[in-house]
Amino acid sequence: MSTWLAIARAEWRYWLRSRLALSSAALLVLLLLATTAVTALRIQAEADERHQLQAQAEAAFRSQPARHPHRMVHYGHYVFRAPAPLALFDPGLDPVTGQSIFLEGHRQNTAMFAATGASADLGALSGLTPAWAYQCFAPLLILLLGHAAVVREREAGTLGSLMAQGLSATSLLAGKALALVSVVALLLLPLAGSAAAAVVAGEAGLAALLLLATYAAYLLVWVGVALLASALLPTRAAVLAALCTVWLVWTLVLPAVAASGAAASVPLPGKLETDLRMLRDLRGLSDGHNANDPAFQQLRQDLLAQHGVARVEDLPVNLRGIVAQVSEQKLTATLNRYAEQQRAAEVAQAQALRAWGWLTPWLAVAEASRALAGTDLAHHHRFLHEAEALRYDFVQGLNRVHAEKLAYQDDVRRSSDREAEARTRVDPRHWQLLQDFSFQPAPAAERAAQAAAPGVMLGLWLLALAFGLRAAARRVRP
C-alpha cells in the first residue's frame, strides 16, 4: 500500500511540474465551474417563471365570471412543467420537450414551446450543460493526465529499473490508478456542489449521492481505458492516437450513430399519425355535444327508467350534462389508449438507443444521469400523465356541474333564448374545483430503479476494464 502511495505521489509531482497538465486542468475546471454556475442560474430563472405562470393560469381559471360550465371546458387550463432540483446539473430533455400544455375538453394537446426552438442556433454542441461537460470533456483531462502513466517510464527507460528493484507491474498500475482516482475525486467537486444545492432545494439525498456515484464510475472507466492503453502500447504517440480515437468514437460518433440507428430501426409514428389512426377508429363513437346522437338513446332510456319518469325534462339531472360526462369518459379511454401506444413506441425507441450502451459508456452515463436528475423520458411521460389526470378531473368536474346545476329546458334553448341562456350561467364558485398543479419528479427510489439498467452497464464496463488491467499487468514489459 505504501508503495502505491509513493507511486501516486510521484505521479502528482510529475503533473505539478508539467505545464501541459496544469493548463489543461485549469481549462477544464474553468469550463466545469462556468457551466455549473450558468446552468444553475438559468434553470432557477426558468423554474421561477414557470411557477409564476402556473399560479397565474390557476388564478385566471378560478376568477372567471359566471358562465355555462361547458364554456369552461373549452376555456381550458394551462399546466407548466417546473424543472426538478437536479435539473440545474442535468436539464436532460427539458430544453427539447415542450414546457406547457393546454388542457381542454375532448382533446389531449401536445406540450408546446421547447426552449431549443427559440434559442440561438450555434451548432450541435452549443447546448453545453454541466452534465454534458462531465460526460464529454472531463474524460479528455483524464486521458491527457493518464496516457503517459506507464509508457513514459517505458520510453525513459525507468520502467526497467523500477521492475528490477522488485516493483510488480500490479503495484505500478495500482499506484498510477490511485493518482488518477484522486484526480477523479477532485473533478467531482463541482458536481458535489450542484448536488448539495439540489438537496438544499428539496432533492432527496439518495438521488444526489447516486448521481455522484454514477459519474465517479463513468470517470473511473476512463481511468481504466487510459491505463490500459498506456500499459499495452509501445510509444506515447501510439497511446495518444489510440486514446483520442476512443474518445472521439465514444463521445461524439457513437451517440449520434446510435440516435440515427434507433430512428431507423424502430420507426416512431408521430402524434399526428397516431391521432389520425385514432380518429379513424373513433368515427364509430358519438359526439358528446349532441345529446340526440343515436348512440345516446340507450343511456337516455336507462336514465328515464331509473328515475321512473317519461320525459327527459322531468329528470332530476340535465341529460346533456350526463351525456357530456359519459362521452368524455369514453373518449378519454380511447385517447389514453392511443397516447399509451405512442409513449410505448417512444420507450421502444429509447430502448433501441440504450442497447448501444454496450458499445459506449457515454450512453449509459447520460441515461442514468437523466433518470436520477428526473429529466429523462420517463419524467416527460410522467408530466404528460399528470397533466392528463388534471385535465380529466376538471373537465368531469365541470360536466358534473353541467348535469346537476342546469335545467335541461334552459340548456336546450340557450342558443335561441336569451333568458334561458342567462339561467345556464352557473355561479363562479364552481370554478374552484380546479386542482393545483405542481410537477414533482418521481420518488428517489423510483428514479434509482429507472437508472439501474444503465447503472449496471457502467458497472460491467468497469468490471471488464478491471479484468483487462489485471491481464495487462502480466504483460507489462520494460
Binding site: A114, A118, A120, L144, L272, L353
Partner: protein, 427 residues
C-alpha cells in the same frame, strides 16, 4: 540521397509513394470514408422516412376530412370539425444536414379556429434523439473530421524529431540552390494527408447527392464550403505541428482549440444572444389569445363584430348577430382573438429571427457552427426555413378563412360537394 534532392514534382511523387505505404494514414482515410458514408446513409434513410410519413399523412388526412364532411349539414360545423394537414417536405439536400427538423415541427393539422391556439402545437420527433442529435453529414464535416485531421496531422514533425530524423529530413529535402521555390516537406506531407481526408469525406456526399437528386449548384456550394473549412483546419494543424514541442503538447493545444471553437464559443455565444435578444414567453401568446377568444362569449356581440369588421370591412353589412349563437360570430371572435395576440406573436417570430441573425454573426467566431449553419441553410433545414413553413401555414389559414367567410356571412346553403373546392395546402 539523389532521390531526395530531386525537383518539386518528384518530391510530390516521393511523398505520395511513402504515404501509400503508410498503413496508419490509410486507416484514418478509411475511417473518414466510413464516417461520412454512415452519415450520408443515415441522412438518406431519415429523409426517406419523413417522405413516407408525409405520404401516409396526406392520405389519412384526406380520408378523415372526407368522413367528417359526410356528417356535416352546415358550413359552421364543417369548418369547426374539419382539419387540414400542412407539412414541409424535406429538400433534396436535407439528407446532408437534418438541422431543425429534429426539434421543430414540420407537420401540423389546422382548422378554422384561432390559429395562435394551434400553430404552437408540436408533433416533433423523439425528444431523446433530438437531444443527442443525428449523425448527419453536417455533424461529421463540422465536428468529427476536424478531429480526424488533428489526430492525423499533429505528430508529423514531432515524431520525426523524437526519432532524430527531423534535421536530416529538412536538410535533405531543401531545394537545391537556384531552383524554384517549392513547398516544404512538411507542407507537402500535410497536404497529401489532408487531401485524402477531403476525398474520403466528400465522396459519400456526392454519391448521396446523386441518389437524392440534389441540384449541382447546391452540391458544388456545399463542397466549396466544406473544402474551405477543412483546409482551414489542415492549415491550423500543420502550423501548430511545426511548433518545436512534444507531440502530446501539440495534440493538447489542437484539442483545446477544437474545444474552444466547437463548444465553448458556440455555448457562450448562444447564452449571450439569448440574453441579448429577449423573447416574449410563448405561453404569454397562447394565454392572451385564449383570454381574447373566451372572453368574447361574455362580451356584447357588437363589440366583437365591430372589431372584426375593422379588419374585414367587406363584411360590414353582415355584422348583425341576432341569435345567442351564430357561427359567423363564433369564427369572427376566433379571428379577433388572433388579432389581439398578433403583436405578441409577431414579436415572438421576429425575436427568433433576430436571435438567428445574431447567431449567424457569432458563428464567424466558431467555424464549426458556421459550416453547420451554411449546410443547413443549403438544405433548407435552418430556422429561417422553419419560420417560412410557419408563414405558409398562416397563409393557408387565411385561404381557409377566405373560403368559409362568404359562405358563413352570406348564409349560403351547405353543399357537400364543395369539399372538392376546399383550399389544399401547397407545400
Amino acid at each position: 540521397m539523389s532521390v531526395l534532392m530531386a525537383s518539386g514534382s518528384s518530391a510530390w511523387r516521393r511523398e505520395a509513394w511513402l504515404l501509400s505505404r503508410d498503413r496508419s494514414v490509410w486507416g484514418w482515410w478509411c475511417v473518414a470514408l466510413l464516417l461520412s458514408a454512415l452519415a450520408v446513409v443515415a441522412g438518406l434513410s431519415e429523409v426517406q422516412q419523413q417522405r413516407a410519413t408525409i405520404e401516409r399523412l396526406v392520405a389519412a388526412d384526406r380520408a378523415d376530412r372526407d368522413a367528417t364532411w359526410q356528417q356535416q349539414t352546415d358550413w359552421g360545423s364543417a369548418a369547426y370539425y374539419s382539419f387540414h394537414l400542412t407539412y414541409d417536405p424535406p429538400s433534396n439536400f436535407a439528407f446532408a444536414a437534418l438541422g431543425r427538423r429534429d426539434d421543430t415541427a414540420w407537420k401540423h393539422r389546422v382548422r378554422l379556429l384561432a390559429l395562435e391556439g394551434q400553430i404552437h402545437e408540436r408533433d416533433a420527433g423523439h425528444p431523446l434523439l433530438a437531444l443527442i442529435g443525428r449523425f448527419d453529414f453536417a455533424f461529421v464535416a463540422a465536428y468529427v473530421l476536424p478531429l480526424v485531421l488533428i489526430v492525423l496531422l499533429h505528430d508529423g514533425q514531432a515524431s520525426e524529431r523524437r526519432a532524430g530524423r527531423h534535421a536530416w529530413l529538412e536538410a535533405a529535402a531543401a531545394p537545391a540552390p537556384g531552383s524554384t521555390a517549392m513547398p516544404s516537406l512538411w507542407t507537402l506531407r500535410a497536404a497529401l494527408r489532408s487531401a485524402g481526408v477531403c476525398v474520403a469525406g466528400l465522396l459519400p456526399l456526392w454519391l448521396g447527392g446523386a441518389a437524392a437528386g440534389t441540384d449541382g449548384s447546391t452540391l458544388l456550394g456545399a463542397t466549396a464550403a466544406v473544402l474551405a473549412y477543412w483546409l482551414l483546419w489542415a492549415v491550423v494543424c500543420a502550423a501548430v505541428a511545426a511548433w518545436q514541442q512534444a507531440g502530446e503538447v501539440i495534440l493538447a493545444v489542437l484539442l483545446a482549440l477544437w474545444l474552444v471553437v466547437a463548444v465553448i464559443v458556440p455555448a457562450a455565444g448562444r447564452w449571450a444572444v439569448d440574453r441579448a435578444v429577449p423573447l416574449p414567453s410563448g405561453a404569454a401568446i397562447t394565454l392572451l389569445q385564449r383570454e381574447a377568444v373566451n372572453g368574447a362569449w361574455d362580451l356584447p356581440k357588437a363589440t366583437t363584430m365591430d372589431a372584426f369588421v375593422r379588419s374585414h370591412p367587406q363584411w360590414a353589412d353582415q355584422r348583425q348577430v341576432s341569435r345567442p349563437f351564430e357561427w359567423k360570430w363564433y369564427f369572427a371572435f376566433q379571428q379577433v382573438g388572433d388579432e389581439r395576440a398578433a403583436a405578441l406573436s409577431q414579436a415572438y417570430t421576429e425575436g427568433r429571427r433576430q436571435r438567428d441573425r445574431w447567431a449567424g454573426w457569432v458563428a464567424w467566431l466558431a467555424p464549426p457552427a458556421l459550416l453547420e449553419r451554411t449546410l443547413q441553410h443549403a438544405a433548407g433545414t435552418d430556422l429561417p426555413a422553419a419560420l417560412a413553413y410557419e408563414a405558409r401555414v398562416r397563409a393557408f389559414h387565411a385561404q381557409l378563412r377566405n373560403f368559409y367567410y362568404p359562405r358563413l356571412f352570406l348564409g349560403e346553403a351547405f353543399t357537400p360537394e364543395a369539399r372538392q373546392t376546399l383550399p389544399a395546402f401547397q407545400p
